[in-house]
Amino acid sequence: MNALINATLFPPKKLRVATTSLAGCFGCHMSFLDIDERILKLIELIEFDRSPLTDIKHCGPCDLGLIEGGLCNAENVHVLREFRTHCKILVAVGACAINGGLPAQRNHLDLRDVLEEVYQTEPGLSHGGVPNDPELPLPLNKVHPIHEVVKVDYFLPGCPPPADAIWKFLTDLLAGRTPTLGHGLLHYD
């Protein structure tokens, strides 16, 4: 009886979730979609805020933020800060968000040399000079993993994390369990 009253008076609140891809390849989002028909079960438990799936441009108050990709430019930093401000729990999803990943391979090069080579000296390009339109976000000297700029609550490794890992991670989180990925769900190829 009590359970019935509780269910009527306090319908289980759906968790509000935002996702974004910073300096990533959307591979983690694709892997997320690989949970296939389980997304129908998931959507009973969550609703999406800002996400490539909803095309909402800015993030409102959320329970959970999933970040794919690291930080390679100023805009990434702004988006990440917006997520941190609005999400109670922030998760670094995939190798790039956790370690910088593939984009961070430029870190052993000086950014000035990179820009010079791409826009000024490399043969075959238009040599229009380094783009300086104020609309364009400036690249950071180095690519950083997101935990170097904001506090990150959980890390979900993999390149990409397999759909089963994402599913396990989210269902753990929704059920109030500390997410743990056992053997088989942690792999990097």
Binding site: A74, R81, P134, L138, L140, N141, K142, H144, E148, V149
Partner: protein, 599 residues
């Protein structure tokens, strides 16, 4: 002599034996200055080892270089006690005078200046190693003179002799340091008893290992004695662990300087008990200067029939060889030490099997601390009943402490087990003491309220280090020095320790730069738990001890450095756009990133 002839001569002297690779590399480097690729190839061919294995060993140890490091290599001991004596300023002054950056070789290939882990001269620092020779008590004047000698390329052997003097500084003697044994006396008593009875005496004396862990020596010797040798080269070995690398420890240096006979005699007694014909003394590279004296002490013992065949006209045969390490703290761990004795990188083995059954060359091996072996002579000479009267119930005998830091009389203090921290502090003249780091960075940090605790296996076990910090010291900086030490000394074999020690170091540096937040403190606790549980050996297990202790006992030293209660990045975000601003010529608002606090 050409380089090739020189290498041949060295390799020949070591019977082309790959297990002696450490000694081959060291002797070659002492003559050629560094280990070039062609040198390594020549050595690999001569000992018939794959070149990669030879290079693996040469690369692993700090004191071997596979690139030229200058004709003069100056290494400043960088223990916290050296820091407290002002080594940072002295090293900077030296670099300035030589127009050098630390860690870089001068353009003319003359000299390089860098830091190294504690060289065991904490009671007479700041200390340096020049071409691996120990020099104590550096002063600004000495720095000036030394720079002059280096510039004029005066050979190190001709430098002022008083620079190389190392004092024992024995301040308090007890049963061990005040022994009245003459060489051969303890061994004769042991031979008289025979191995079984001698083993029983050691067991009855309840002798425990002095390296810190306190394992029962009797049990170790018994297991080793009972183990069968393996294969065609079956034999038993005794190894004396003189790789005294724990920062702040220097008691073995003093034992080997002034009581070498006692140590060698202890090794012989161990040999008698376990049935070994050969003992190996693993001497840390920092104590290279002791080698000649120790070799001559061995020669004297051989001449006196205390080593070799038919010792004291019995059937007992035993001889001792000295192996030098090359600057790797990890080799204090017994299985890493054995790997090093076999010419390999010092990486701890997976245990079991333990060295007592599968040790040096896969044979039963007992590895004992210098002080344990010396103590066994007392038991041989005076019997277990006499020995067990000293100390406490579970910690019989005495312990030698190496006292350094903020006190009037640093040096060597021997006490019966059970002495309080407060007693030691009184005796060494430490006033206004706020903390003592006992047993080095991997030991425990004792704060003022705990000074009545006792040095004994029942309470505070120790390998001997006793570093005193007075009220003026910043315990955060002490812990940060230790974090750097462990990051440098991790052998790199297992991920929790290799990555963990570096993460801890980076977090401590972040807090030191005043970029820290409570988040970083949580991270330190998390890493402590993770590394303690997941590391391969004791180094990783204990690497966070100094941070855990100081966080619990001196938390405000951390907190007053925190930037805010929110998370803070470790670097300046706006500066991270500097190169792009320079290349695009932009300086508009969007070309800047404000700090979160201002945003």
């Amino acid at each position: 002599m050409s380089d090739t002839d020189m290498i041949d001569a060295v390799v020949e002297r070591h019977h082309r034996d790959g297990a002696r690779l450490m000694q081959i590399l060291r002797e070659t480097q002492e003559q050629l200055g560094w280990l070039s690729p062609s040198t390594l190839t020549a050595i690999a061919e001569a000992i018939a080892w794959p070149r990669a294995m030879v290079e693996g060993t040469a690369d692993f140890y700090s004191f071997f270089h596979t690139r030229p490091m200058g004709r003069y290599r100056v290494l400043w001991s960088d223990n916290i006690t050296d820091r407290m004596l002002g080594n940072t300023d002295l090293m900077q002054a030296m670099c300035k005078k030589l127009w050098l950056e630390p860690g870089r070789v001068s353009e003319d290939g003359l000299v390089s200046v860098d830091t190294t882990s504690c060289t065991g001269m904490c009671d007479q620092g700041p200390a340096v190693l020049v071409n691996y020779r120990a020099i104590t008590r550096m002063t600004p004047a000495r720095v000036g003179e030394m720079v002059g000698l280096i510039r004029s390329e005066m050979p190190v052997a001709e430098w002022p002799a008083e620079w190389f003097s190392v004092d024992d500084n024995i301040r308090r003697k007890d049963m061990l340091l005040a022994h009245d044994l003459v060489p051969g006396q303890a061994l004769a008593a042991a031979l008289e008893r025979g191995p079984e009875k001698m083993l029983a005496e050691i067991r009855d004396a309840r002798l425990r290992g002095r390296g810190g862990a306190g394992f029962s020596t009797g049990q170790k010797w018994e297991t080793c004695r009972n183990a069968e040798g393996n294969g065609s080269n079956a034999a038993h070995y005794v190894v004396c662990n003189a790789d005294e690398g724990e920062p702040g420890t220097f008691k073995d240096r003093v034992l080997l300087t002034s009581h070498a006979d006692l140590v060698f005699e202890g090794m012989s007694i161990a040999g008698l008990v376990v049935g070994a014909k050969k003992g190996l003394l693993y001497l840390r590279g920092e104590y290279r200067y002791l080698l000649e004296a120790l070799e001559s002490a061995l020669a004297t013992r051989r001449a006196a029939k205390l080593l070799g065949k038919n010792i004291l006209d019995t059937d007992f045969e035993f001889d001792i060889e000295i192996h030098l390490g090359a600057g790797a703290y990890i080799c204090g761990e017994e299985s890493a030490l054995i790997e090093s004795l076999e010419g390999k990188p010092g990486r701890p083995r997976i245990r079991p099997p333990f060295p007592v059954t599968h040790g040096y060359l896969d044979q039963p091996t007992t590895v004992n601390n210098v002080e344990t072996l010396a103590a066994s002579c007392l038991i041989a000479a005076h019997g277990s009943a006499w020995y067990a009267q000293h100390g406490t119930e579970k910690s019989t005998g005495s312990k030698i402490l190496s006292v350094s830091g903020d006190c009037e009389r640093s040096g060597i203090y021997e006490y019966p087990y059970g002495v309080t921290v407060r007693q030691v502090l009184e005796d060494c003249g430490a006033s206004d003491c706020q903390a003592v780091q006992i047993s080095g960075p991997s030991g425990i940090c004792v704060a003022e309220g705990e000074f009545d605790r006792r040095i004994a296996f029942e309470d505070i076990p120790t390998a001997g280090a006793f570093m005193v910090f007075d009220e003026t010291r910043d315990m955060f900086e002490v812990a940060r020095n230790f974090a750097h030490f462990f990051a440098h000394e991790s052998c790199g074999f297992c991920t929790p320790c290799r990555v963990g020690t570096t993460l801890v170091r980076n977090l401590m540096d972040k807090i030191a730069r005043q970029h820290g937040s409570p988040y970083d403190i949580d991270e330190l606790f998390k890493l402590h738990r993770l590394m303690q549980g997941a590391s391969h050996c004791g180094l990783g297990n204990s690497a966070c001890n100094p941070i855990f202790d100081t966080l619990n006992k001196f938390r405000p030293a951390y907190e007053h450095r925190l930037m805010s209660l929110d998370y803070e990045p470790a670097f300046d975000l706006d500066a991270a756009l500097s190169q792009a601003r320079q290349m695009t010529g932009r300086d508009d608002a969007a070309a800047h990133l404000q700090n979160e606090a201002e945003a």
